[in-house]
């Protein structure tokens, strides 16, 4: 078990990394970035799996499994919907086509 100060260190460093990585992003990407970040916190699935896997009563298991379902929806759905958003506008070929058409 890592001690409290180590956890605090991780936390503080992660705050700075989180600030830093998104510091320069065009407004066009705000929504996909929000959606991608949303998918990343779906990693709570790991916590849900751990909790469900250690349940000692049916009630706890039921709640744990509910958490697993919800976390999976968050994670899997989040990445898929982000990919769909990006699929639509990270598309460069049309540029070339139109350039040709104009000539």
């Amino acid at each position: 078990m890592s001690n409290g100060t180590t956890m605090l260190t991780y936390f503080v460093l992660a705050v700075f990394v989180g600030f830093e990585v998104v510091s320069k992003v065009s407004s066009v990407l705000h929504t996909p970035l929000m959606s991608g970040a949303n998918a990343i916190h779906g990693v709570i699935l790991v916590g849900a799996i751990i909790v469900a896997g250690h349940a000692h009563s049916n009630f706890a298991l039921a709640i744990g499994l509910l958490a697993v379902v919800l976390a999976t929806v968050n994670m899997v759905g989040g990445f898929v919907v982000t990919d769909r958003m990006l699929e639509m506008f990270v598309r460069k070929p049309p540029k070339a086509d139109v350039a040709k058409d104009e000539k």
Binding site: V17, V22, S27, L33, R84, L86
Partner: protein
């Protein structure tokens, strides 16, 4: 299964955490965004594989079924959702994530599950020191004296339940607003701020009670239920007064909240990956929220508390019956065909009508006639930032025709016709001229500077923020009523016959 050593487990989580950082980094640039998202997904899958291999888990079959169910719900929802409905889907995904975090923390706090090595498992501390793991299975029977570590873990757990539940309830309300299951206007009622304040105080009070109750390293379940119920109420009261175009910003904020809840649950479960991933989302989400708010010319505080400061909806409510100049598709076609420069300003109406292909075709016909066509893209046009870019890219509109707001504004004074398709608030001069207006201060596209303005609108209904647009009554303005796609198709037909 217990096939991974703690070192291998830690390394696996490290790789996953790096994937998440690279994902956020990649998502910040258009060229790498899609790859970034895939890297993030890879990291998430890796994290799940590691937890299965490293932890000694019961109920494996059930867990796999639950994951299958979650995938079965999430993937089709994400695949089938219409472009216009993506923001509310993101809100919903965020909400369920918050709920999951709250449930995880609640289970751990009540001691209905006992996970070896976590902070609430005090007897194990001693066992750990002796290097034996046998004591783990005899949880609960040993009398325990709480240490500061227990109380800190209980506080982190209470924080997770509180923030996770706020995020869940808030996200559900934003979903309902964007889906138009309820009014999109700010919901303000007398005593609202007081109710909000007292509920928050009560929730924090119960959270403190949770920490105190953790003296025997387990918390009474009803205390957590009470905390969750109060937190749900806080979430609802928090989002109700937020209206109109501010809703996407609130989704971003709730997203950051869920990140922090996940981070706190990482502390409770002593899981570094959850701590790091949750913190990354919390921090980047906070920055992102501020950037989104800045794009709309607001401070985050004004969005959250603006509606509390007493109904600043000047000039908003009544739809006046002043005369407007409405026109026919043929007239609009002629106006466009004989212009030298046309600026198209797309908005939510274009997205709703799915008229992006029609507008592109119209632009091509105009260009064939020698008209210069550009698109003026307001950063928050539509219901989410970047909405219009995505929509027009889908219709293969050349990237170089899309002009961001500042560039478009410098083109507008020399423009003959500004064609506003289903946009309203982003061209509403009230943002410049009327200090009492909810959108006051938001940068807008100054379409009024063009020689003529054509609005394609469904009706005289004001925009999402519920504010009337003075520009509609201006002498240079023409209106063409109807669904954007139908109107554009008619204009297109007339154009072809000219």
């Amino acid at each position: 299964m217990n096939v991974l050593s703690p070192t291998a487990e830690a390394l696996g989580y490290l790789v996953a955490a790096v994937c998440f950082i690279l994902a956020l980094k990649g998502l910040s640039s258009p060229a790498t965004a899609r790859r970034g998202n895939l890297i993030g997904a890879g990291g998430a899958v890796l994290a799940c594989v590691v937890v299965f291999l490293a932890e000694d888990l019961d109920h494996m079959a059930w867990i796999l079924v639950a994951i299958a169910v979650g995938t079965g719900l999430g993937v089709p929802a994400a695949r089938r959702v219409a472009m216009t409905q993506m923001p509310q889907l993101v809100a919903l995904f965020n909400g369920v994530g918050g709920a999951a975090a709250a449930l995880v923390a609640a289970l751990e706090l009540t001691g209905t599950v006992r996970i070896p090595g976590t902070r609430l498992e005090l007897p194990s501390l001693a066992a750990h020191a002796q290097g034996t793991f046998v004591a783990y299975s005899q949880h609960g029977t040993v009398s325990v004296t709480a240490t500061s570590s227990t109380y800190i873990a209980a506080a982190a757990g209470a924080f997770t339940v509180l923030v996770g539940a706020v995020s869940f309830a808030g996200s559900v309300i934003t979903f309902a607003k964007l889906q138009e299951l309820m009014t999109t206007r700010p919901v303000v009622f007398p005593g609202g701020p007081l109710l909000m304040a007292s509920t928050t105080v009560a929730a924090v009070g119960v959270a403190v009670g949770v920490v105190v109750d953790a003296h025997d390293s387990r918390v009474h379940p009803w205390l957590l239920v009470l905390l969750a119920v109060l937190a749900l109420a806080v979430g609802v009261l928090f989002v109700l007064p937020v209206g109109g175009a501010d809703v996407p910003i609130v989704i971003s904020l709730l997203n950051a909240f869920t990140g922090l809840a996940v981070a706190a649950s990482g502390y409770v479960l002593d899981n570094v990956l959850l701590l790091v991933a949750g913190t990354l989302v919390g921090a980047s989400g906070t920055i992102l929220t501020r950037m989104m708010a800045a794009a709309m010319g607001r401070s985050t505080a004004s969005i959250l508390f603006g509606a509390f400061k007493g109904g600043s909806t000047a000039g908003s409510t009544q739809v006046s019956d002043r005369p407007v100049r409405s026109s026919t598709a043929e007239d609009v076609a002629i106006l466009l065909a004989y212009a030298r420069k046309v600026v198209i300003v797309p908005g939510y109406g274009l997205a709703v009508a799915q008229a992006q292909h029609t507008i592109h075709e119209l632009a091509e016909v105009l260009e064939a006639k020698g008209v210069q066509v550009i698109y003026g893209i307001h950063p928050v046009a539509g219901r989410m930032p970047g909405h219009m870019n995505v929509l027009l890219a889908e219709a293969n509109v050349p990237y170089e025709q899309l002009k961001e707001m500042d560039e478009a504004n410098s083109e507008l004074p020399s423009t003959d016709v500004a064609l506003v398709v289903g946009a309203n608030d982003v061209v509403n001069p009230a943002a410049d001229t009327s200090p009492g207006s909810p959108i006051y201060g938001m940068p807008i596209l100054h379409v009024g500077e063009a020689t003529a303005v054509v609005f394609l609108k469904r009706s005289m209904r004001p925009g999402f923020s519920g504010i009337e647009n003075e520009l509609l009554y201006a002498p240079g303005t023409t209106l063409l009523f109807g669904d954007a796609k139908e109107s554009l198709t008619k204009v297109l037909q007339s154009l072809k016959t000219l």
